[in-house]
Symmetry: C2
Subunit: 348 residues, 2 copies
């Protein structure tokens, strides 16, 4: 039945069992060992249907004796649903997405699901490709980030008939389940906060907004709310790179070089803001006396800075967990607004 060292085998039943490379052990082997039918083994292993206690013991003993590991590939093919959830995130560099994963995998595990992840690098074409790739595993559901997808992605998602949860944004129409918060409102809240505190010459330091649509929405909300307060951005710097501490530090330095008279800086993310804070420390700029700083996301690190960072805390872990639970539960399409929280901190 397979490459047998140099003995020969009278019947397939005598072929060497697994252990480390031989014929894999199957449900049929367990059934034979336990002297019951295959369906009985299947029922016992899934605790589904009825069987006697004696049978259960027999089967479990056989499983242990043979070291049987069920083959979920076969199980999934034979049954319908797959107990796999695909998760598509733009990046693993920004801690925001591991947070989301964390919430999702924890909730999925409780429900007995497994997650397959894919990373898009904020590229919509890659998103389309990885969505296709994930769909080929016939997942029970898909978690994607944001509401903006290119037409091919939308088409695939819709055509697949798979439940989809779109995360971390609710500013726009969703396909099915939407879990997140309003980035636009977060931007507005940030602007109102800074304006309310009396800052007038406010600058913006952001990363690549064409790729990060949620950051673009915060930016738009921020500008609009400033305008309502009779203000305009006193300067801005877009770093053509993903959000990072370094981008924030260099961005603020560059912006101050051009517009030295800013009194506040709004960053597209907390890690950018932390970079800005480091710049202020290095340059000897008192915060917030000389320059106020405001971030976004509410990372732990901001809370622990000598002066806690003024920011917006977003429920990322909760979003992942909520989406996972909704997907598993299989209810109707919904939009869940988890909201966000203004953290006043001490830097603005």
């Amino acid at each position: 039945m397979d490459e047998g060292g140099n003995r020969t085998f009278a019947s397939e039943d005598e072929a060497p069992r697994d252990g480390a490379g031989r014929r894999p052990i199957t449900l049929a082997d367990v059934a034979r060992e336990a002297r019951v039918g295959e369906s009985t083994v299947s029922r016992v292993l899934r605790s589904h249907g009825s069987f006697s206690e004696k049978t259960r013991a027999r089967v479990e003993a056989a499983v242990a004796r043979l070291g049987y590991v069920p083959n979920r590939i076969a199980g999934t093919l034979a049954s319908t649903g797959s107990r796999l959830i695909g998760i598509v995130i733009p990046s693993l560099t920004n801690i925001v997405f591991p947070d989301l994963l964390r919430g999702a995998t924890a909730a999925l595990e409780q429900e007995g699901f497994q997650s397959v992840i894919a990373v898009t690098d904020y590229d919509q074409d890659r998103e389309e490709a990885v969505v296709g790739s994930l769909l080929s595993w016939r997942p029970a559901g898909l978690i994607v980030t944001g509401l903006e997808h290119n037409p091919g992605t939308r088409r695939r998602l819709i055509a697949s008939g798979v439940r989809v949860a779109e995360l971390l944004d609710i500013d726009g129409p969703g396909l099915d389940i939407v879990v997140g918060y309003s980035n636009r409102a977060a931007g507005e809240t940030s602007a109102r906060h800074l304006a309310g505190r009396g800052y007038r010459r406010i600058g913006y330091i952001g990363h690549d907004l064409t790729k990060d649509r949620r950051a673009a929405k915060r930016y738009a909300g921020f500008r609009d709310a400033l305008a309502q307060a009779g203000l305009a951005l006193a300067g801005e710097e877009r770093v053509a790179a993903p959000s990072s501490v370094e981008a924030g530090r260099q961005g603020l330095a560059a912006l101050l070089a051009r517009s030295p008279d800013l009194d506040a800086a709004y960053f597209s993310n907390d890690d950018m803001a932390l970079g800005g804070y480091f710049h202020c420390l290095s340059a000897g700029l008192p915060v917030p006396g000389r320059l106020a700083l405001f971030g976004y996301n509410g990372l732990d690190v901001g809370r622990l800075m000598p002066q806690p960072l003024a920011t917006i805390r977003t429920p990322r872990v909760e979003a992942g967990a909520t989406a996972a639970r909704l997907l598993c539960a299989g209810g109707p399409a919904t939009v869940v607004d988890l909201g966000f929280e203004l953290i006043e901190g001490a830097t603005a």
Copy 2:
């Protein structure tokens, strides 16, 4: 041939096609549509075996027309290898592991593999459970973290016959492929560096070492090298929590309260060290004049602090990528020492 409002269907072949919920489209549908055999479609889709250009075009047109998505579950069951790699990491909170994932998923994608991830929360029993769960997907390989596993996990890994890569540690015997660096040597290097700079009253601030075996190895190496230099730890603080900025900040504060005369602090991780740095800033302790700080991992944030953090840079992304490539390549068992790099920084 596809979704027809409320007609009835003469034969199963006329049953409504997918679109959003009907009978899923299969390879057989594509074959019929393209008027070729199923195996021909399969060959074209996998670019495997030979077929004419004309046939390729016909098949691709049919695929596009029907919106066919191959079913990898069925494909995997029918063929042998699964093009899935399971990745087991202890945590998603510490950026180290997303880094590892990043390297691995990027390399895997190039090879046409997909990754399934599972998180253990530094718990060996959970590791055993998730390894079992991942093995049931019959992955082509498994990436796990560290060399320490409980007996059940080892048994399963060995019995499965699946290739395994153990990452981020090379201090001990491995099962198959081992990719990483010596944590012990990193601890030693750190101690020698501090001792060489003339620090004499060195304290240690660490997180939960019973769970994080690699941190424990660094700690052991650090103590041993100090001893060789005729020194001993002048104090230590173990925070009973995972590594975090907060743990570092509180840990250093607590340690200094007990041992105010320390001249240097060695942290189990960079995020702990960053917390320590924040404490120094808040408490007005000059760094490194009053207290030197030394971390581990070489996170970006350390490089961008007003005074770059003295630390050890570890090749985490590279480790993930290397392991992924080795697993896909299928060579012999090996140990790959990627080494680490001392970053002198300005805090020690």
